[in-house]
Amino acid sequence: MAFFFAQFLTGLANAAALFLVASGLSLIFGVTRIVNFAHGSFYMLGAFVGVTLMDVLPGAVGFWGAIILTGLAVGAIGAFVEMVVLRPIYRAPELFQLVATFGVILVIQDLALMIWGAEDRLGPRAPGLRGVWRIFGEPVPKYDIILIAITPFILFALWYLITRTRVGVLVRAATQDREMVGALGVNQARLFTGVFALGSALAGWGGALQLPKGGADLLMDFNIIGAVFVVVVIGGMGSLPGAFIAAVLISVLSVFGVTYLPQSTLVLMFVVMAIVLIVRPYGLLGREEVAGEHGQVGAPETPIRPYGRTGKLLVAGLLALLAALPLFAEQFVLTLTVDMIVFALFAASLHFILGTGGLVSFGHAAFFGGGAYAAALLVFHTDTRMELAFLFAPFAAGLLALGIGWFCIRLTGVYFAMLTLAFSQLVWSLAFQWRDVTRGDDGLVNIWPAEWLNSPAAYYYFTLALGVGGILFLRHVIHAPFGYALRAGRDSPRQAEATGIDVKRIQYAAFALAGAMAGLAGGIFVFSKGSVFPTELEIGASFDALIVVFLGGVKTLAGGVVGAGFMTLVEDWLTRLEYWRLLLGLLIIAVVIIAPEGIVGSLRSLWTRIRGTESEVTK
């Protein structure tokens, strides 16, 4: 019994920092609707700033003073980021801002490396709080008790701020309907900056408070972000008490998981999230999302139509150039182009459900990697012929999408996104942990193409045919009645239902098709690289695709393909440089600010403006 109690206390202590960070993210999302990927970076900044301040300020006063100052400093950085990076793009399509926050992550990573160096910093001990107290004979670190004691005060302070002050009234009003708040004369820009600063400060405090239990290192931004999103989603996005309950729930369950199921450490919280979302689609205390009900942000989308003559000629010219490439280009250019086509097909498949279907998936890599693994497992274990194994890739990925989609499709918006993320984590952990079959982190190696395809030029044409074919096929589907039905379901589910379209079924089918096409890309990928590792299934792989789709332009048909091409080239060039993350981050932020409709979307707007009115172009 005493042991249980001690474990429970450990869980509560862990919940403290997690709750702080998660409540910040939840606040930011609730008011600004920004899915802030960079939230983990503010947590990391909090840790580094905290360590630095604690080195300077002596004693207990210095320690606690440093923590308070850290929050203020990180809050100020957050306000700066909001004003410079995010404010110009609030009118951009929904979720577009997450691309900008991704740029912020890269910039902060390199700046932190420049300022604090590469070595991990061990956090200073809280003065006078080293060692343990015995509770029912079990040792409990003193600092854990302090953390447990502090958390309710923070929760209370936040609760008071939100429910009892004028600022809180505004925040709640903005959470419900930010346009109405603006219409009533509230300065939205200041409100958003303030909330973003508060959210960042909370993350900074979280980073500083955990110092005596750990330290500061350059990987902690990505290491916490998964757990934070899980907590926010389980609690219900935008709900502070929900975030608190979820933080405690996840932390305590993790502690028991460590003891009774030590192998579960990788997936436990994602399993919990999946179960909660399947039972309660809006989290424990969340409400149904209202975003989008008042119409999409930004300019309404122009009706889609096939390319005009100029467009067709342009595409034909590009294809001819690609077909002639092996005649004059070096081998490496072919390889780079293969990479580009694979990524373009992957991005196009995500763009298909995201742009056309309105389903934002955060776990699309499950199908890309799933396809790659399906083919690789056949080759590795049964020596299947490459041609057969290759066909298995889209087939298996499609089946996987049918399975995952069955659970996910009933959800909408960010909750849909998070459930896809949870499932992709489950697929990842399967590949990571089931070593007898997948060899775990050691991956499956020596998966090379059949003899007749094993020259750079041959495999290039193979990729060109299937990759471009896949992209054109997806495009064709968008222009087919199925695509129209899918878009109808995206723009107005109720009206679509009224005209007899089974929206959920159409979406389910589109999800499976997108999965199969991602699997096709995965199949091409695995035979071009000769190996596959769980990295292809990581959250980061899903986000890569997400970012290029947004960067290219969600509301355009070529967005995914163009974004993928752009990103592959830019990365290939920038990673040769010393501070490539900083430059890449700044470049992403710059593109986002200059082209808030994505590259293709903004080029189109520019084109329209040069050519005169829209109607002239449509001819």
Binding site: A118, G214, D217, T265, T575, L586
Partner: protein, 406 residues
């Protein structure tokens, strides 16, 4: 605000040309180029000392007249820690940049991807730092050589020490991925062979760099082991040591720590380094004057102004190995280089004689083992010794059985 935005863009434009100059761009035409692929940003703490070690050795080699009369040159490329990216870069280095062979990587999965790629395309790959033993054993191939001491051997050294004690109840804690699992399996197998009555009463598997130290310590304590085998490293190790120390987990128990004594992991712990642990590591501060090891340490500290890490040593020896192989081959084509690496012997490296075994392409780099103590507010290894790996290796027949198609 327009101002800020403009400044930001101006900054980006201004920085770009400066940054473009940073990589080694314009080079002497007829240098011998080596493609070095690593995770310079993602694992900066490990990759930076490694790179400094390489640069030191390259300068020394070139000051001595280079190899085959030409300067040796390393092309450093960042793969973002992504195996697929690494393969793309490898191809570019070999087909476009004129590299004669490939080396690098710390992460095992990237190393395995490069190894498979090298075998398929007929390139030579020297796996300098990856920890996975399957590089030379289960997934070994003739194109891949490996420098870093094998995990099996280091675990066997700790198991040998553990077998000398009366402890029979063991608990293990290791990061939940391939390396951690292999390291635990190797320790178990060696210890059970030496001492069959040993019992493993708990196995803890925290997620890499996401340890819940309090919970792990409680779970270990609950199993009441006599001794603990630790494979965690980096931030996981720091949290584990801190929480375990506070809660008294290590009191009266023998602890065996794989890699715990390596400066990369020991230095950040400062005066909280866990005293009494028996570990593998790198006691550069205690090497005797006049030995090649000490000469390297002095040269490294002189040129970089930093204390060496084990990565520095590995980077340095990577260059020594490559330079020796090229000299021995007398040419830079892959076939000659592979032939030269088979059974290559290099005198007077910082660890003494270094050779590459013909049997499995593994180097004979051994490991330093010793006990941790705290001196002057820093963790150090005391009563240490350098152990040759040969006695700890599986038998030749076992290795032949593991290596496919040879």
């Amino acid at each position: 605000m327009t101002f800020t935005r403009r400044t930001l863009l101006a900054m980006a434009t201004a920085l770009a040309p400066i940054a473009m100059l940073t990589p080694v761009a314009a080079l002497a035409q007829d240098s011998i180029k080596i493609g070095e692929i690593n995770h310079y940003k993602r694992l900066a703490a490990f990759a930076e000392p490694y790179k400094l070690g390489i640069e030191l050795a390259v300068d020394e080699v070139n000051a001595d007249g280079g190899v085959l009369g030409k300067p040796l040159e390393f092309i450093f490329r960042d793969d973002q820690g992504d195996p697929a990216e690494a393969i793309k870069i490898a191809e570019e280095l070999m087909t476009r940049e004129g590299a004669v062979m490939l080396t690098g990587t710390i992460l095992s999965n990237v190393g395995l991807a490069l190894s498979s790629f090298a075998a398929e395309k007929g390139y030579l790959y020297l796996a300098s730092e990856p920890l996975a033993d399957s590089l030379v054993w289960a997934s070994g191939n003739p194109q891949t050589f490996r420098l870093r001491t094998s995990t099996w051997v280091q675990a066997a050294m700790l198991a040998e020490e553990a077998a000398k004690t009366d402890a029979v109840r063991y608990a293990t804690i290791a990061p939940n991925y391939a390396y951690g699992q292999d390291a635990v399996a190797a320790f178990k197998e060696n210890l059970l062979r030496l001492k069959p009555d040993v019992e493993f009463v708990a196995e803890q598997w925290p997620a890499l760099f996401k340890i819940d130290a309090g919970a792990e310590v409680q779970a270990l304590e609950r199993a009441k082991p006599d001794a603990i085998y630790n494979v965690t490293f980096g931030t996981d190790l720091a949290k584990f040591v801190r929480d375990g120390g506070d809660r008294g987990l290590f009191d009266g128990r023998n602890v065996y720590g794989l890699l715990t004594g390596e400066p990369e992991y020991l230095d950040p712990l400062g005066d909280e380094a866990p005293e009494g642990w028996f570990v593998t590591g790198y006691p550069w501060y205690a090497l005797a004057d006049g030995t090649p090891g000490k000469t390297f340490v002095d040269a490294y500290m002189d040129t970089t102004g930093e204390t060496p890490k084990i990565g520095s040593l590995v980077g340095y020896m990577t260059v020594l190995s490559i330079a020796a192989a090229i000299e021995k081959a007398g040419a830079t084509d892959t076939a000659s280089l592979i032939a030269a690496f088979e059974g290559l012997e290099i005198e007077d490296t910082p660890i003494g004689l270094l050779s590459y075994r013909e049997l499995d392409n593994q180097s004979t780099m051994g490991a330093y083992v010793g006990t941790l103590a705290v001196e002057d507010g820093k963790g150090v290894m005391v009563d240490w010794s350098y152990k040759d790996p040969a006695p700890y290796m599986p038998t030749d027949d076992e290795i032949r059985a593991m290596r496919p198609a040879e």
